[in-house]
Symmetry: C2
Subunit: 291 residues, 2 copies
Amino acid sequence: MKISLDCYPCFLRQALQAGRHVTADETRLKAVLDAVAGEIPRIPPGAASPVIGGIVHRIVREIAGDDDPYRRVKAENLAEARRHYPAMKDHVARSENPMAEAAHLAIAGNIIDSAVIPECDIEREIFSLADRPLAVDDTQRLCEALDGASSVLYIGDNVGETVFDRVFIEEITAPVTYVVRDRPVLNDVTVQDALDSGLGGLARILPSGSASPGAVLPECSDEFLDLFEKADVVVSKGQGNYEALSDAPRPIFFLLRAKCPVVARDLGVEVGSLVLRESHRDSDRSQPFFG
Amino acid sequence: MKISLDCYPCFLRQALQAGRHVTADETRLKAVLDAVAGEIPRIPPGAASPVIGGIVHRIVREIAGDDDPYRRVKAENLAEARRHYPAMKDHVARSENPMAEAAHLAIAGNIIDSAVIPECDIEREIFSLADRPLAVDDTQRLCEALDGASSVLYIGDNVGETVFDRVFIEEITAPVTYVVRDRPVLNDVTVQDALDSGLGGLARILPSGSASPGAVLPECSDEFLDLFEKADVVVSKGQGNYEALSDAPRPIFFLLRAKCPVVARDLGVEVGSLVLRESHRDSDRSQPFFG
């Protein structure tokens, strides 16, 4: 997905929001805004938005003087999500279709994104969301694909949401590789966050190689790209990965909440919608798509 | 009112919105964004926001190549507002307190602001708004002040809203000077717009001398400043004038809808609230305040 002109004001907004997680000093925050504004003329309209997100958050880290501005927020979100783990397991166990229910919970978990929704009340939101109809619903196709799969590449998004991913991955019998960000960016999951979410014993944890808040393919490691090409099923969580991978030449199951107007428009849904969409369902998998 | 850090992303958003009234050419719109982004490091945190609005909209006019980007929007809003004039007159005539009712209509008319609410359905909104309680309500003080006044300075805001101002001014017996912008900026009222709104026979029409979307005192003409100092009652419409005049050293009745979080916070109300607030009620009018 390419950025829209509407994304440019949002880069400044995101930078300010991220900076405020580190400092209340208006002079430093203004310096963050100035530096991001200085990048805008250098960002062409066709750029990939997670790449720009990477630039924005690098500036925030450098000027705000913290290599992980969302450290505290991530710890709080993870602690709260972990508290709900037993209730989620119970919810899934009591459902008629545990895998579908777990997938829906994993989408509902995508509300845990302090980068977009500053104060989200996880407890109140999750179970009502998990029972809400999806605006795009390829759940059956996902369950069928997972049933027959011998390898699954699962690309994670936010810390906290990771606990919901865990509940979903516990329903998957095929071996799962869980992809995390290469280093802290926004509130996105890193190797340590994945381990702290209880994913270590369930999946192989693999950094994508990209420092962007989304698995931007040209930035990803060869190991990731090899798995991305060969995995039977690829699950992509959240907006950042959708923006990075929506045009990728292979079938992908995108599980996300559409949080911004640009992404919602691209998906053809309302802002706030929950989406489980299979891309390229009819594409020819026999063709090579890299190189 | 000084700008908040939150205003900086909004300058880009406003520039894009204004530019889109002139062109759909993404290259030109990106040039507008680049130019506004280039101004951001030069705008100090303590700046007055209408001054920045003036800079932003000058850039839009120059790059988009149109000295009045909101021309069409203003004409549409004015035509629609004029259609409601008879109903508004009837509404006021049937009310128990015509002056208070007309003042509330004038506030409700402040929803006509395509700069902030892109598609506003005037017909549906107005009468329900006029009957809504105000979040700050100095209506009685305003009516008393107008009853005893021998001169009123009324500072206009958006085209279309001007017709609502007309209904209110028709209830005022004292001579009224109606202040307009010096030249087209945003969808704000100019001399011609005031005449087209039917204000010519009711009030003296005076350009403020400021090219900003708000009566920024250091930019205003001596004639305006003299009237601003001496008028028995000053009525200020809308956010732009509130931002320009909220710290001015004389009593002012501010009639507006708080449309953005920064202004709402300054007023201590929720976004969307209708406000009729007298400032400096207890200030000492015997002291000179210019000079």
